[in-house]
C-alpha cells in the first residue's frame, strides 16, 4: 500500500523546492527536533520533529488531545520543552525566547482577546504593548478593524461579538505588527461555514503577503484547502507528513455514505456495494447507515444504480472527502480517539 511511503514522508515530486531550503537548514522558519512535553504522567508531545519553510502554510492535523496545542504553545515560548530543541527563524525557543516573541504571534484556540474590553480597546492595548504611541495605536487599530469588517462593532464589548467576529478580531490582534510567523490554533473550530470561509481567506492573504502560517485543525478538508504541507499528529507523535495530495493519495479520494430506508436491508446493501466498488464496506453505529472508501468516483454512480436494481431503497447518499477518522484508519488502522482514551493509551505505549 502507498501509505507506507507516505508515513516515511519520502515522496518525490513537488517537494523538491522545499527540500533544497530544508537542506540549507538555517533558512527554516521552524526547526524542531525531538520535542517532548509531559503533563504529570501523560506525555502530551512525544518526540516531535518539524521543519517549516518560510512563507508556507503548514497544517497540524489531529484529533483532540493529540498534542497539537501543546506543540504550538511550546513553539510560541509559552511552555518549556522537557527535552528536545526548537529554533524559530534560527532563535532557540528557550535561550532566545524574547527574540522568538519578536518574530511570531499567537492566536489561541479560545479567543485570545479580552472579552470585557471593546474591539477597539483590545487592538489599542496590543498596539501599545508593541510600542505604538497613543495616537499611532488608535490609527492602527482602526485600520485593522476596517480591514476585518469590524468598524461597526469597534465600540462594542467583545463578549457581545459573534464567534466569527471574535475570531477575526483575534487574528487582527495577531497582526498589529505583521509577524513573520503566525500560530493559529484551530482557527475555525466552532465557526459557521461563512465565517470559516472568511477566516480561510484571511489566512491565504497572510501567507500571500509573506507570513509563515502554522495552523492546527481537526478537519482534513481545512488542511487540504489551506496547507502546503500537513503533519498528522497522534498521541504526541507525527505519524505522517507531506502535501495534501500525498496524504489523500494514501487514504483514497473519499468515501460514499449511504442511508437506507429499511435497516433490515443493510447486509444486502453492503454486499452489493462492496461488489460494485470493489472495496470493503464499513457499517456505522447508525443501523441504517453504511459507508465505503472510494478510489474512483466514477464507480459511485454505477454502485448506486446497482443498489436500486437489487431493490434496496436509500433515503440519502453523500460522496465526501475522507474524514479525519478515515485518515487515521488508513494511517494507523484505528479510528481517531478523543482526549481521555488517547491520554491513557499514550501512557501505555
Amino acid at each position: 500500500m502507498s501509505e507506507e511511503d507516505f508515513i516515511a514522508g519520502e515522496s518525490d515530486g513537488d517537494m523538491s523546492i522545499g527540500r533544497d531550503l530544508i537542506d540549507g537548514s538555517d533558512g527554516l522558519a521552524i526547526h524542531a527536533e525531538g520535542l517532548i512535553h509531559r503533563f504529570g504522567d501523560t506525555t502530551a508531545v512525544d518526540g516531535v520533529d518539524l521543519k517549516v519553510v518560510p512563507g508556507e502554510i503548514y497544517g497540524f492535523l489531529g484529533p483532540n488531545g493529540a498534542g497539537k496545542t501543546t506543540t504550538i504553545r511550546k513553539l510560541a515560548t509559552l511552555l518549556r520543552p522537557d527535552s528536545g530543541t526548537a529554533r524559530v527563524f534560527g532563535h532557540d525557543i528557550v535561550r532566545e525566547a524574547d527574540a522568538v516573541r519578536g518574530r511570531v504571534s499567537l492566536t489561541g484556540q479560545f479567543a485570545s482577546v479580552d472579552e470585557d474590553l471593546t474591539g477597539l480597546e483590545n487592538l489599542i492595548l496590543i498596539a501599545r504593548l508593541l510600542g505604538y504611541s497613543r495616537k499611532a495605536s488608535r490609527v492602527r487599530a482602526n485600520e485593522l478593524l476596517d480591514a476585518f469588517g469590524l468598524s461597526d462593532a469597534a465600540g462594542r464589548q467583545v463578549k457581545k461579538y459573534s464567534g466569527g467576529m471574535r475570531r477575526r478580531l483575534d487574528i487582527a490582534a495577531s497582526i498589529v505588527v505583521t509577524p513573520d510567523l503566525i500560530f493559529l490554533d484551530e482557527p475555525t473550530t466552532g465557526l459557521d461555514p461563512r465565517s470559516r470561509n472568511q477566516v480561510w481567506e484571511i489566512i491565504r492573504t497572510l501567507a500571500a503577503e509573506g507570513t509563515t502560517v502554522l495552523l492546527t485543525t481537526q478537519y482534513l478538508d481545512e488542511a487540504d484547502q489551506l496547507a502546503d504541507r500537513i503533519a498528522v499528529i497522534d498521541h504526541g507523535k507525527v505519524i505522517a507528513e507531506g502535501t495534501p495530495g500525498e496524504l489523500k493519495a494514501s487514504v483514497g479520494s473519499g468515501a460514499l455514505h449511504v442511508r437506507l430506508r429499511d435497516p433490515e436491508q443493510r447486509p444486502e446493501a453492503a454486499r452489493v456495494l462492496s461488489q460494485a466498488l470493489g472495496v470493503s464496506v464499513q457499517l456505522g453505529s447508525d443501523p441504517a447507515a453504511l459507508s465505503a472508501r472510494v478510489s474512483d468516483p466514477e464507480r459511485v454512480s454505477y454502485a448506486l444504480v446497482e443498489l436500486s436494481r437489487s431493490g434496496v431503497a436509500i433515503t440519502d447518499f453523500a460522496l465526501g472527502q475522507p474524514s479525519l477518522d478515515e485518515v487515521f484508519l488508513a494511517l494507523t488502522g484505528r479510528p481517531a480517539e478523543d482526549e481521555d482514551t488517547a491520554a491513557t493509551e499514550g501512557e501505555a505505549a
Partner: protein, 280 residues
C-alpha cells in the same frame, strides 16, 4: 469545493488587509514602565466596563467601619466616639488589606483565559502584565480608602495630622497593599480555582489582621501574644498610619513598613514570576 463568499457581503476587505499587513512595521519596544502602565490602563477599562466588580471596594469598607465602630466601641473604649479615633486608621488598613485578596482571584480567573497566552507571547517586560494589574488594583484600593475616611469623618473622626497626614497614610497603605498583593498573585498562580484562592487568602488574612493592633491595644493581651503581634507587618503599618493621621509619626515606624514591603516583594515577586513563566 465551492466558496460562498462571492455571494456574501465582503466582510473582510482583502485590499485593506494587504495594506494593513504591508504597514505593520514593528515600532521600538516599550520600556518596562510603559508596558506596565498599559496593563494598568487595561485594569481601569475593566472597571469601566464591569462596574459590578467595585462592590467589594464599596460595600466592604462601609460594612467594616460601621460594624466594628458600633459593635466594639462601647465595650472597648467606653464610647463609640472615642473608639473611632483609635479604630479608624486600623479599619482603613483592615479594609484595604482584605480587598487585596481579590487580586489573586482576579489573576486566577485571568490566566485561565486565552488572552494571557497572548500577553505572555508578546516581546515585553515579563512582569508587566502582573505589575499593571496590581497598579490597576491600587486604584481600587484608593477608592476603598476614600470611602473609609469619608465615612469616618461623617461619624466624627478628627485626624490631628490634617489632610497631609491622611493623604500620606493612605499612600503608605497603598504601597503596602501593592507589596502584599504579590502573595496573592503567587497563590493565584498555584491554586486551581478562584474559590480556593479566596479560601487560602482568608486563612492568611484573618489571623494577620485580627492578631494585630487594629482593634485593641496589644498591651492588654498575654505577653506571648503581644510579642507575636510585634512581628506582624500589619501592626507596623497600623502604628505608622495612626502616627501619620494623628501627626505624631516617627521615621522608624514608617521605615518598618517599607522594610516589610521590601521583604514581601523580594520574596513573593520572584516566586510569582517563576510560576508565571512556567504556567502550564
Amino acid at each position: 469545493m465551492t466558496t460562498p463568499t462571492a455571494s456574501a457581503q465582503p466582510v473582510v476587505r482583502e485590499d485593506a488587509l494587504r495594506l494593513a499587513l504591508a504597514s505593520g512595521k514593528r515600532p521600538k519596544r516599550p520600556n518596562a514602565l510603559s508596558a506596565s502602565l498599559t496593563f494598568g490602563w487595561r485594569a481601569l477599562l475593566k472597571i469601566k466596563h464591569v462596574p459590578e466588580q467595585l462592590f467589594d471596594v464599596t460595600a466592604f469598607p462601609i460594612m467594616f467601619t460601621l460594624m466594628f465602630t458600633y459593635l466594639f466601641g462601647g465595650a472597648i473604649a467606653g464610647s463609640t466616639g472615642e473608639y473611632l479615633q483609635f479604630l479608624l486608621p486600623g479599619i482603613l488598613v483592615q479594609t484595604v488589606v482584605f480587598i487585596t485578596m481579590y487580586t489573586g482571584m482576579g489573576l486566577n480567573t485571568d490566566v485561565t483565559k486565552g488572552v494571557f497566552d497572548r500577553f505572555r507571547s508578546l516581546p515585553i517586560w515579563r512582569p508587566a502584565a502582573l505589575v499593571g494589574a496590581l497598579l490597576g488594583d491600587v486604584a481600587r484600593y484608593a477608592m476603598a480608602s476614600t470611602i473609609v475616611i469619608a465615612l469616618g469623618l461623617i461619624l466624627g473622626f478628627r485626624p490631628e495630622g490634617g489632610a497631609v497626614g491622611v493623604l500620606l497614610s493612605v499612600a503608605l497603605v497603598l504601597v503596602f497593599s501593592f507589596s502584599l498583593s504579590w502573595i496573592w498573585t503567587a497563590l493565584g498562580l498555584i491554586l486551581r480555582t478562584p474559590n480556593s484562592v479566596m479560601m487560602a487568602s482568608f486563612m492568611i488574612l484573618f489571623p494577620l489582621t485580627f492578631a494585630s493592633n487594629i482593634f485593641v491595644d496589644p498591651r492588654t493581651m498575654p505577653s506571648w501574644l503581644e510579642t507575636a503581634i510585634g512581628f506582624n507587618p500589619i501592626t507596623h503599618l497600623v502604628t505608622a498610619v495612626r502616627g501619620l493621621m494623628s501627626g505624631t509619626a516617627a521615621i522608624p515606624q514608617i521605615g518598618a513598613v517599607f522594610l516589610s514591603c521590601a521583604v514581601l516583594i523580594a520574596v513573593f515577586a520572584p516566586i510569582t514570576m517563576y510560576l508565571y513563566r512556567n504556567k502550564k
